[in-house]
Structure formats: C-alpha cells, structure tokens
Amino acid sequence: MAREKIPAKSFWKLNRDLVMTWAGLCALLAITCTLAYVPMGRGNLPVSLVIAAIKAALVGAIFMRLSDHNALNRLAASVGPIWIFIMFVLMGSDYFTR
C-alpha cells in the first residue's frame, strides 16, 4: 500500500480534541503538583483526589471515547467505579464506627 500523504492541517483537525485534552491533562498535572505544596491542612488530599478524578474522567470520556460509545459500554465502564464505591461504603461502615 502506498504511503499516504496528509496535509498537516487536516491532521491537526483530525486530532485537535485529543491534543486539547492532553493539554488539559498536563495543565491539571501542573496544578495538582503545585497545590500539593500549598498548606491546606486536611484539604490537600481531597483536592488532589478531585483533580485526579477529573483527569481520569477526561481520559475516559475523550481518549476512551466513552462520550460517543453506546450506552452498554458506558454502563460496563461505570460498573467498576460503582463497585469500588460499594466496597468503600460498606468497609467504611466498619472502620468509621470501630
């Protein structure tokens, strides 16, 4: 098969949303790394986890194409986090009341 020729412009157009997402991820990485050095007492952990969750959601929605996948795949993708939630809630019912 012949090597395809692609104009740089259409190549950019094809991948623009992906690159933007990547830039967003890098920005969030810089923010979370910086914020880790800002004393917030107990606030540091939740802040870093929320940023991590946003990053993970970006990867899931854009890179893993969950935003344009069918409902079944989205359901399958949501099962893991839901089950982790169940695990934490029920284990918490022990550890928070020991």
Partner: protein, 544 residues
C-alpha cells in the same frame, strides 16, 4: 436432513489426536476438558475429607496427627472451592451449553476460552505442587497473621494456584458476557433466554467483579509472607481484619458463583420434567440478577465476631436478610411451576427435587446466621459447616449432577442407565442428610469447626456424620461408573430424548463442530411446553 447430518462429524469425532483436543477452540471440547479436570479434583478433595471424617470417628483423633488433619481439611477446602465448585457448572455445562442455548456457533472469543482452561490447569499445577510439598495448613480462608507469619506449609504455592485459576474465571466471565450480548440467534430476545443462560450471565458478572479482589488479596498475602512487607501484620501497624474484609468481599459472592448456575440448571430441569413453562419467568430473571448484585453487599456477616464494629454488624445483618428474599422467591416459583404440571420422575428431576429440599434447608439456616446474636453462638461451629454444605453440596453439586444427567445424551449422544441413576440420586439425598444434618445439631451444641480432637459428648454426631459420608461417597462413585460405562454400552440418544424445549435440543447429539447445521431462528417464548392451538403452533413445530 438426516443424510446431511451424518456427513458432518460430531465434535467428539472431529479430530481424534491429543493435539486436536489440547489446541481445540470448540467450546464443547473445552467443556469436556474442564469436566475431566474438575472430576479428578473432586475425587482428590473427596479423598482428603474422607480421611478427615474417618479420623473424626474417635474423639481423640487416632488416625492422623494434628498437623496432617489441618492439612487435609485445608486442601479439601481449597480444591473443592476453587478447583471444583467455582468452575463446576459454568466451565463445563456453561461452556458446552451457552452457545447451543442461544443458537451460536461458539463463544465470542474461542481462543480466550482455551486460555481459560490453560490458566485453570496452571493454577491446578500449583495446587498439585502444594500437595507434593506437603500441603498447607491455613484453612481455605488464608486468615492473616496465621498465613503470613506463622504457618509452615506451602502457603505461597497454594495462594499462587488460587490466584492463577482466578484469572481463568475472570476470562470465562468476560467471554460469557460478550457471548450473551452479541451472539444470540435471530429472535432470541433477552426475555426469551433460558434461565440457565441468565444464570450464566449473572454468574459472569460476579466472576468478573469479585475475583480480582481475591487476586489482589492473595498478592498482598504473598508479598507479606515472601517479601516480608508489612501489610496485615498487627505488630507493624497492620490490621488483620482488613484481610477479612477483602477476602470475604470475594468469597461471599463466590458462594453465588457456585449457587446461581445451580439455580439455572434446576430451572431447566423442573420446566422440562413438569412439562410446564416456569412460573414467573421474569421474576426468576430479576431474582437471579438481584442475588448477584445484593450478594456483594453482605460479606460482613462472616465477621460478626471478628472485632468489626457493632454498627457494621447491623448493616451487614440487614443486607443479609435482604439477599434471602430473591432466593426465597426462586424456591416459591419452582414449587409453583409444578402446579398443574405433568410431572415425570427421571433421574435429573430427582436431583432437582433433592436440590429444592436441600437448598431450602441451607437457605433457611442462613437466616440463623444473618441474625447477629445467633450467629455469634453458631459461627465457626459445625452449624456453619452444615449450612454451607447444604448450599454448596446439597445445592450446587446436586444441580451439577442433575444437569450432567440431563444433558448427558446431548454431550455424548448416549443414554445413561435410568434405574441406576435414580438409585444414585436417592442414595445421595439420604447420604447427604445423614452426613450433614447431625452437624447442625452438634454445631448448636458448641462443636467448633476445624477441630481434630473434641469432647466425647459430640462423638455420636460424628459417627452419624461419618456413616453418612460413606453413603454419600458411594452415591458419588456410582455416576462415575455408570456414566462412563454408558459411553460404551449406552443406547443412542437421538436429538431430543426428553422432548425438551430449548435450542440445544435442536442440534444433533452430539453436536457437530459448528453446532447447528441450519442457523436457528427463535419464534417462541422459552419453555413453551404447552403451545397454543392453531397455525402458530404449526409454525413453531416446523423450525426444528
């Protein structure tokens, strides 16, 4: 049609070399490979526990040493749970029947299916290695810190065996889920699926979501024992109860990996031999899925005396009562299916009746264990041992044998000897009750489990139990003998000896490599044992 059939070799004769078996991607052959392997393990695990039961005839435990006793019940537990019960129905009957029942050629990922078998065998190799190294004495539960810091057995190889075979069950689950979604024949809508398929689907969910947690727990145990990393060790800040949470997060749902498929099998048997559509089909489906999901919320009822908080005890107790509801609904529906049926009593149906009685006793005694104050008294006693054997042996093994007899004509093309089979089924029911019912009584009286020596007042119950085990053991050897014998001497079964509904009975017996010579189409509701009069019934008759 029959001429074209005879031209295509059935799956058993489609290649006869060892290679054609070991590298097969045919779901039916892989089912057979699994069946062979689990049968071997069933009898290894059975031998171990036979020695234990003989030893328990005397209160002083005169037959084997303390250490040997502990290794025997441990290997019994590990083998029976992970190398027999977990793969029993899904990997053998499930593998064989799932594609047939939905009208597919094979599972969605045939090579992945073969990989499942090799992973199982990899885990099995480690388990055999554990036996060669002298066994392991942690109990199948691997509780820390005993397993990580104190046990001297081959904990690492035992844990590795379980870990590896766990991946086999994850891959089987993934395969079944994708197959059920994507390979149903035209007309086979979700609510036309046989309940066995639904039960496989629900089981797969549990396998996929629970097994990895066990895998990671075992990795942590291995890291602590082998690499000396502090993880559960309380003297280095760890929490041994954390292990129990993680372990039971898998191991309670694992019970549903064993019992859901059994429920699926029994639904097929009862519908066929009562000649009646299952009562409340959609409720049966919801109940299966509900059990699979709620089953994840109840693991803490194994830990009422562990030192877990009293609030957690209440939460888990309540949730455990809730999981009893869908199970009860299933029992009611099976019973109601018999109403206005036309019941015949072939061996598979006898196994189904056995299941119904034994599972109900197992389920009802579950109520005792969900009730915290009662559980505190009877947990870690023979009451619990009896309870879970009623579920796993009375329930799952009974259903497995019932299913094996029911589909034996389809799997092998031969009929088994009916009289022997009925005798074995009845013998098993009596042997089982004689073995395990006395254990309820001695459990309530305080006989702790995993005891090698015991106070003499419990001896009568142990003697009863051991004598029952002799009967039960005989009842398990009988099918091994006559089923194997039927391969040579059995009469040819024909396509549908039971006149059962379901797509698998439209394929030849045994089916050819790609199952259906003509791709099937499904116009009917499931279990359509009483078709309506008129042209519709004619049309339905034409399809087969």
């Amino acid at each position: 049609m029959s001429e074209t059939l005879s031209a295509i070799p059935d799956y058993l004769h489609d290649g006869t070399t060892l290679r054609s078996w070991l590298f097969t991607t045919d779901h039916k052959r892989i089912g057979i490979l699994f069946a062979l392997a689990i049968t071997v393990f069933f009898f290894i695990g059975g031998t171990a526990i036979s020695i234990v039961r003989l030893d328990l005839l005397t209160p002083a435990g005169d037959l084997v040493s303390d250490d040997t006793y502990n290794r025997l019940f441990t290997i019994h537990g590990i083998i029976m749970v992970w190398f027999f019960l977990i793969p029993s129905i899904p990997a053998t009957l499930g593998n064989f029947l799932l594609p047939l029942m939905i009208g597919a050629e094979d599972l969605a990922f045939p090579r992945l299916n073969l990989l499942s078998w090799y992973l199982y065998m990899g885990g099995a190799t480690f388990t055999v290695l554990t036996l060669i190294l002298g066994g392991v004495d942690t109990g199948w539960t691997f509780y820390t810190p005993y397993s990580t810091m104190f046990a001297n057995g081959a904990v690492l190889t035992a844990a590795a065996g379980v870990l590896i075979s766990g991946f086999s069950s994850v891959l089987t689950g993934v395969n079944f889920i994708a197959t059920t979604h994507a390979l149903r024949a035209p007309g086979m809508t979700w609510f036309r699926l046989p309940l066995f398929v639904w039960s496989m689907y629900a089981t797969s969910l549990v396998m996929v979501l629970a097994t990895p947690v066990l895998a990671m727990t075992l990795v942590l145990v291995m890291a602590e024992r082998w690499l000396g990393l502090p993880i559960f060790d309380p003297s280095r800040g760890g929490d041994p109860i954390l292990f129990q949470h993680l372990f039971w997060f898998y191991s309670h749902p694992a019970v549903y990996i064993m019992i859901l498929p059994a429920m699926g099998v029994v639904s097929e048997l009862i519908a066929c031999f009562a000649r009646r559509r299952l009562f409340g089909y959609s409720f049966m489906v919801y109940a299966l899925v509900a059990i699979a999901v709620i089953g994840f919320f109840v693991w803490g009822h194994h830990m009422f005396v562990s030192g877990q908080s009293a609030y957690a005890n209440i939460v888990f107790s309540f949730l455990s009562f809730m999981v009893a509801v869908p199970s009860a609904i299933k029992v009611f529906n099976w019973t109601a299916t018999l109403y206005r049926g036309s019941i015949s009593f072939e061996a598979p149906m006898l196994y189904a009746f056995g299941f119904l009685g034994l599972f109900t006793v197992g389920g009802l005694t579950g109520l005792f264990l969900a009730t915290v104050p009662i559980d505190i008294h009877v947990t870690d006693t023979y009451f619990v041992v009896a309870h879970f054997h009623y579920i796993m042996v009375g329930g799952s093994v009974c259903a497995y044998l019932g299913g094996l007899h029911f589909w034996w004509p389809k799997i092998t093309g031969k009929l088994y000897p009916e009289a022997w089979a009925r005798f074995a089924a009845i013998l098993m029911f009596f042997g089982f009750n004689l073995t395990f019912f006395p254990q309820f009584v001695m459990g309530y009286l305080g006989m702790p489990r995993r005891y090698h020596v015991y106070p003499p007042e419990f001896q009568i119950y142990h003697v009863l139990s051991t004598s029952g085990a002799v009967v039960l053991g005989t009842a398990y050897f009988l099918p091994l003998a006559y089923l194997l014998g039927s391969l040579w001497w059995g009469r040819n079964a024909g396509i549908n000896p039971w006149k059962a509904k379901g797509l698998e009975w439209q394929a030849p017996s045994p089916p050819p490599h790609k199952n259906f010579p003509v791709p099937p189409h499904v116009p009917d509701e499931p279990y359509d044992y009483h078709p309506k009069e008129g042209p519709l019934a004619e049309a339905a008759g034409d399809v087969s």
